[in-house]
Amino acid sequence: MLRFAIRRFVSTAFLLTGVLVMTFALARILPGDPARLVAGARAGPEAVAAVRAQLGLDLPLSRQFIHYVAGIFEGDFGKSIITRRPISIDILTFFPATVELVILASLLSLAGGVTLGVLAAVKSGGKADASVRAVSVFGLSVPDFWTGLICQLLFFSVLGILPFGGRLSTGVAMPPQVTGFVTVDSLLAGRPDLFADALHHMILPVFVLAIPSTAIIIRVVRTTMLEVLSADYIRTARAKGIAPLKVYLRHALANSLLPIVTVFGLNMGLMISGAVLVELIFNLPGLGRYTADAIAGSDYNAIMAITLVVSAAYILINLIVDLSYAFLDPRVELK
């Protein structure tokens, strides 16, 4: 297992190097002059030239690349053209909101997907199955920006029971940043009121982001469970008089976990990059919104850094998923 992990880490490093070279090359090939963007439309040619020199854009490409890679090893991704802050600081500022959103949405989709998937499989062919399948189709077919806007309209504007978005109520100061997760930082600051406020603000975005993922997990769980439930050892377990719930959870679900974990991992990775619209609609200052702004503003340094970070996160999640197979199924050997 250790050798497997080391091998995966090494291949991950190669993968990330490839991503690095590609994003650097793409950023340089794309049309546009970042120096003009930084200096602004009203800046004179001298100011633009000064900014170009300041950003090192007047250097040969090879030197720019060496500077860039050397910077990354020191945690320096350069400065954002839009925010003008060091990108590493921006990532530390914006990424936690996305991670917090994705973790909560993943957990919700896992809980909801597994529960409803098991229910649909157990009640296969029944009303519950039909309803769950309808929910699943709805979740897969309706885009999350539509669901988000409708939820916002209903729960904020009409019913007035949930906030429109943001991380905390207007005028409420953020807790001191430790993890960047406002829920965790509220608790660390000993502020249960802030924790409740933060959770209140997370309900809608988490729910909306979790919908498609829940739908996928429902389908995977249902299909896998149906297959497992028709297996001989389940019939044997039933024949031995084991309680149905125990059969479903202990025998059937436990043996359906591998595909569920795979899908869960993939979904989590996709959520990181797919949180853009949800963050935009619910006004969450996360990496998704930061990315959208970076793309719209041709903020090449930021785009390169985000690509690297998201790729790394995606690869890490998949690595964890792979490693978890050995724990979930003793028959699996990691080679």
Binding site: L37, S124, G125, V158, A296
Partner: protein, 553 residues
């Protein structure tokens, strides 16, 4: 069991259970009624819009984008984030565009030849870091802006600040020029490059000559204005709290705190207003503005700005012949566009100058919509049907207008190719020096003057002495226009100069068009009815004088 895992009944091959259409319709109808039924109730609240648990002494302004850079030496974004924190020497008086009043300066005098300007600074003014905002500090702040490598120093037009700016005593600062500056007192009221930041804070936190304190000041602004920053959450919100030491005093029922909240979606900004969670919204979509205008709970502060949206003609390429440009001008139906597309939320321009420009009267120089005239001009210019042109615009700005122009030009037999670019790529092309055949024939852009003076506006945009990099993206060069622009330099606009600017407007808009002006923007701030003191200045584009705002009882 089938491949898809669906269990089918033995008796029938149909799915046993489905969500019946009747059940679905019943559920949907119930949901719809529940939803729709609540809407009139919330709207029925009429003019009395509660603010909930919010502190009434705080003003909540929802904006579409965060001002990320609060260093006035380098800020080229909107100035709404700077205005609460910083002061300029003078400030435009209310909605006036050429009349100033004191701000940091309590009085201004000039020599008869306008070569020397003396500003007496208000006494006892302090920056938010506690340091004195005296003549020496003001000189240091201006010098920093002028010398900043990526700053807006060029706006001052002071070549040698060390010599030309003199701190005569603690409260007197003098500017000496070699060329008359007849409206320097108005120039220093501009929002771009003229705010005074604490030189101590800049120096103390400087990371070198390229930085000069910018990295610190952009998120920790230190000015002498009525409010100082309390919290700055990037991409989220900024909270300003009042500065007790502000020399303007706090007699008026000013707000204690101002919170600017970044909400990128116009519909969400509207929802926040309607729910009572925000007091003012900036930059709404036309339909939201039209709807809220009719809502008694809100006031739309509607002011014509000095910002023009326009199409630039590349004059050294296919459009070198002025008759082709005139034909294109005749092919845009402003009335239909303003009525049906922007729903009356913008004005019809009269020339390439904003209509408030000094020296202009009510005359419109715009070529009228006349496709027959346009066809005749094209024939005269031997511009054959089937010709192709390209227009470039940047993502999110001008796409509708370019599509409209494309439609009208197709009636003239001209194929207009639309080319959307990222903002960066657009600027590269727009300000670049590529040959005419390697760049677009037309560009969509917008501009507004820093000060209300025709020379300041026209020189960089239209003078034959300038290049695309200066702002003359169309490489426009008309000898008469260049001469007239030169004659307006640093001139007080009297009747003689007014005649020149009108002639200039005639040349640039209709005789030898440099641009096709599309619309003159209006600023529409939407505020709750209980917010008092809203004054929009056309030059101070999209900013609010938050110090003068208050909430009525």
């Amino acid at each position: 069991m089938t491949d898809d895992g669906i269990k089918r009944s033995g008796a029938s091959n149909e799915l046993q259970y489905r969500l019946h259409r009747r059940h679905f319709l019943t559920g949907a109808a119930a949901f719809g009624l529940a939803t729709v039924g609540r809407v009139p109730m919330s709207l029925a609240a009429a003019t009395d819009l509660p603010i909930g648990s919010r502190d009434p002494r705080s003003l909540v302004v929802v904006v579409d984008a965060t001002v990320e850079n609060l260093d006035p030496a380098t800020n080229v974004e909107w100035a709404y984030g700077l205005r609460p924190v910083y002061e300029t020497l003078t400030v435009l008086d209310g909605a006036e565009t050429s009349k100033v009043k004191g701000s940091l300066a309590s009085s201004v005098t000039s020599s008869d030849d306008k070569l020397t300007w003396t500003f007496e600074l208000a006494e006892g003014v302090k920056f938010h870091d506690g340091t004195a905002c005296d003549a020496a500090a003001v000189k240091a702040a201006i010098t920093r802006t002028i010398k900043h490598p990526s700053g807006l120093g060029v706006a001052w037009q002071v070549a040698d600040p060390d010599k030309q700016i003199v701190a005569k005593d603690a409260h007197t600062i003098e500017f000496n020029f070699t060329e008359a500056r007849p409206f320097f007192d108005v120039e220093v009221s501009s929002q771009y490059g003229f705010w005074i930041a604490s030189p101590t804070a800049a120096e103390k936190n400087s990371k070198g000559p390229d930085d000069m304190g910018t990295e610190f000041l952009q998120s920790h602004p230190v000015g002498s204005g009525p409010y100082r920053i309390e919290t700055f959450n990037p991409g989220q919100d900024v909270t300003y709290v009042r500065s007790e030491d502000f020399h303007g005093g706090w007699d008026h029922p000013h707000f204690e705190r101002i919170i600017t909240k970044t909400v990128p979606v116009s519909a969400t900004r509207r929802q926040l207003l309607e729910a009572g969670e925000a007091d003012i919204a900036l930059r709404m979509e036309p339909q939201d503005i039209v709807d809220l205008k009719n809502d008694p709970r809100f006031v739309v502060s509607d002011t014509l700005t000095a910002t023009l949206q326009y199409v630039v003609f590349t004059t050294d390429g296919k459009l070198a012949d002025k008759r082709i440009r005139q034909a294109i001008c005749h092919a845009f139906d402003h009335d239909a566009y303003l009525r049906d597309v922007v729903l009356g939320t913008a004005d019809k321009p009269r020339s390439v100058f904003p209509m408030q420009m000094q020296g202009l009267d009510d005359t419109s120089y715009l070529l009228p919509f006349d496709l027959e005239k346009a066809k005749a001009l094209l024939e005269e210019a031997n511009f054959p049907a089937g010709s192709e042109l390209t227009i470039t615009y940047y993502a999110g700005f001008g796409d509708t207008e370019c599509q409209l122009l494309q439609g009208w030009l197709s009636e003239l037999g001209i194929t207009l190719h639309l080319q959307e670019k990222s903002f960066s790529a657009f600027l590269d092309d727009f300000f670049g020096d590529a040959p005419a055949d390697q760049r677009a024939d037309l560009f969509y852009f917008s501009w507004w003057p820093n000060v209300n003076h025709p020379y300041s506006y026209a020189w960089s945009l239209f003078s034959g002495e300038t290049k695309a990099a200066n702002g003359n993206a169309g490489r426009y060069a008309n000898d008469d226009a260049t001469k007239l622009i030169g004659e307006l330099r640093q001139k007080i606009i009297d009747d003689e100069q007014a005649t020149k600017i009108r002639k200039l407007a005639q040349i640039l808009t209709s005789d030898d068009p440099a641009w096709l002006p599309i619309q003159q923007e209006r600023t529409q701030f939407i505020s709750r009815r209980d917010i008092q003191g809203m004054v929009n200045n056309p030059i101070y584009v999209a900013t609010l004088d938050m110090y003068n705002l208050s909430r009525s009882a």
